[in-house]
């Protein structure tokens, strides 16, 4: 058989459950709503880096699962997160992307978050400190103690990233949530303070998981001339793709030959602490966070799903806060050469997922998307995506291969869990 007719094209692949997914998981409106409610509103999401909140009273705004969020640093230097919504008439309190409340706003006094609409004000701990003409309007029926902001769970962890959860009952710290997936980079990111040197964003017409999939599989290095010429060797193909509970993965390292790309240079002089020269680690956290450390520059992708076929991706680049001006510029150039909006690799990745989005838009005919490569859990094995979708299926109680049916554990990972439990029992 060469080409296939409609029935053959739609037939169940001759692969195990979990080795393909149904494309409706990337396009269905109801599945997307389920994801926001059962995943994105329940978990930890990194929203920015503490270097974006250097001084007391500084703030950043963002969105999680359509909910406006504000992160502020108090005068006690503690970072806290709140719903960026005024309890009076639901206006978004802060409209700017960032700033500092030391200076007053047109409607508000210094050192307060003030809703411009009716000038209700809040301190950096979310306490309401002023209801305009309170007694005249509310007499003794309502006071400031009853109308504080909605505080959100917030932690600064893993090299200074600020993590927020909409879920009051999350019950685990970020470290517990990570299930060990971050440990491989903790020493490199915890040795000294980091600082953001790059930020840009993209809104791409595809489902957020397609971007995460691309970060989770390296088989797509055929897309990148840079990666083929600097990477394809025995050590590259031996890199391990490691799965962790919770749907997280990380990817083992190898030494990249940057000088094989004309005009490019090694990064050994500016390696992050504890990182061997020119090495490259990557962590993909469920449900859509990527940390990517290539020698001298750390990249972090944060996704905000906007719809079943639309995602905003914020790209950050980070170096060491102690960098000299010259070293910082070198790090920036290393970062931009492949990861900037005009760099060699990022454009190629974004082109590819845009093409997937054009093929798997809402109401498109469902397709079978193959995640079936097995290569001993090394770099071109697609176990990272299978691992992700097992967690996804559990949380949504949907079968990724047939998302209108209930979830059943994947045979592959049942075996792995059994092996892990047996090993733990021995210990």
């Amino acid at each position: 058989m060469s080409s296939r007719n409609h029935a053959q094209w739609n037939a169940t692949p001759d692969l195990q459950r979990g080795e393909w997914v149904d494309s409706r998981i990337y396009s269905d409106e109801q599945i997307f709503e389920d994801e926001l409610n059962k995943i994105w509103k329940k978990t930890w999401i990194p929203v920015c880096h503490e270097s974006e909140l250097k001084e007391a009273y500084s703030f950043r705004t963002m969105t999680i699962a359509r909910e406006p969020v504000i992160v502020v640093r108090g005068k006690d230097m503690v970072v806290r997160a709140f719903l960026n919504v005024c309890p009076h008439r639901g206006n978004m309190i802060e409209r700017r992307p960032s700033g500092n409340y030391k200076k007053g706003t047109p409607s508000g006094t210094p050192k307060t978050m003030t809703c411009m609409f009716h000038a209700w004000s809040f301190d950096m701990k979310g306490k309401c400190v002023n209801i305009s003409r309170k007694e005249a309007g509310y007499q003794d029926r309502l006071n400031e103690n009853q109308v504080g902001l909605r505080e959100l769970k917030c932690e600064v962890y893993f090299g200074g990233f600020v993590w927020v959860s909409l879920n009051d009952d999350i019950g685990v710290s970020v470290a517990e949530f990570a299930k060990g997936s971050l440990d491989v980079l903790l020493p490199s990111l915890s040795e000294e303070p980091l600082e953001v040197f790059h930020y840009h964003k993209a809104i791409i017409p595809c489902n957020y998981k397609l971007w995460h999939d691309t970060n989770c599989e390296f088989y797509h290095d055929y897309l990148h001339y840079h990666n083929r010429i600097t990477g394809f060797n025995d050590a590259y193909f031996a890199r391990k793709n490691n799965g962790f509970d919770g749907g997280h993965i990380n990817v083992g390292s190898f030494e990249v030959q940057y000088e094989n790309y004309e005009g490019s240079h090694g990064r050994e002089e500016l390696s992050f602490p504890h990182l061997p020269p020119n090495h490259w680690y990557m962590i993909d956290m469920f449900p859509g966070v990527n940390f990517n450390l290539r020698g001298s520059a750390l990249r972090c992708d944060l996704m905000t799903p906007l719809g079943p076929n639309s995602v905003m991706i914020e790209f950050r680049g980070l170096g060491l806060a102690s960098d000299s001006k010259k070293d910082r510029q070198t790090r920036i150039d290393h970062h931009n050469s492949i990861w900037g909006p005009f760099g060699r690799n990022l454009h190629e990745d974004l082109l590819a997922v845009t093409g997937q989005g054009a093929s798997m838009h809402p109401l498109a005919e469902s397709r079978k998307i193959l995640h079936g490569r097995h290569e001993n859990e090394t770099i071109h094995d697609e176990n990272g995506m299978r691992h992700y979708y097992e967690e996804w299926g559990k949380l949504l109680d949907r079968n990724p291969s047939d998302p209108m049916q209930k979830f059943k554990p994947y045979p592959e990972f049942k075996e792995q869990v059994a092996q892990r439990e047996a090993a733990a029992a021995v210990e």
Partner: protein, 165 residues
Amino acid sequence: MAASSNEIQQKIRELIYNTCIHLDDYQWEEWHDNCSENFNYAIKAYSPEVQADIKYHGGDKEYMESITKLLNKHNSDQSPLRRHCTVYRVDVAEDGKSATAISSLVVHQTQLDGVNSHVDAGTTSVFLVGRYNDKFVIDGDSIKFEDREVRLDTRRLDKGTHWPI
């Protein structure tokens, strides 16, 4: 006889406009030929999100030559970019050996293969808005770019591009 300041200003305007044509038409070598050996290129923007000046792209002449030479090795969005540029001002140094120029810039992109070509090809949109902040070195009749900063207002760059702006 040395060229007058007005003549130099006019030549610089012509150089900036001709460079737009070179860049629009992928004439990378012609562009590099109009740059001095000390040329430096950068695309930058101020990010109010992180309250910092961000360098998005750039390098010296050797780097820019190498990445344009390798373009055909890369998978790129081939949707053409067209630069609409207006030179606002040219200032020539008193000694006549250098000059600066500020130009307004709008770049339009006409879709070819960036999304679904059947639907989107032929659609034109604004790709970015910004300014060219240029510096020139003048040696007799020779005027070359010494520095080009593409200062962007646009920061949502979506798929981005492999091409210099």
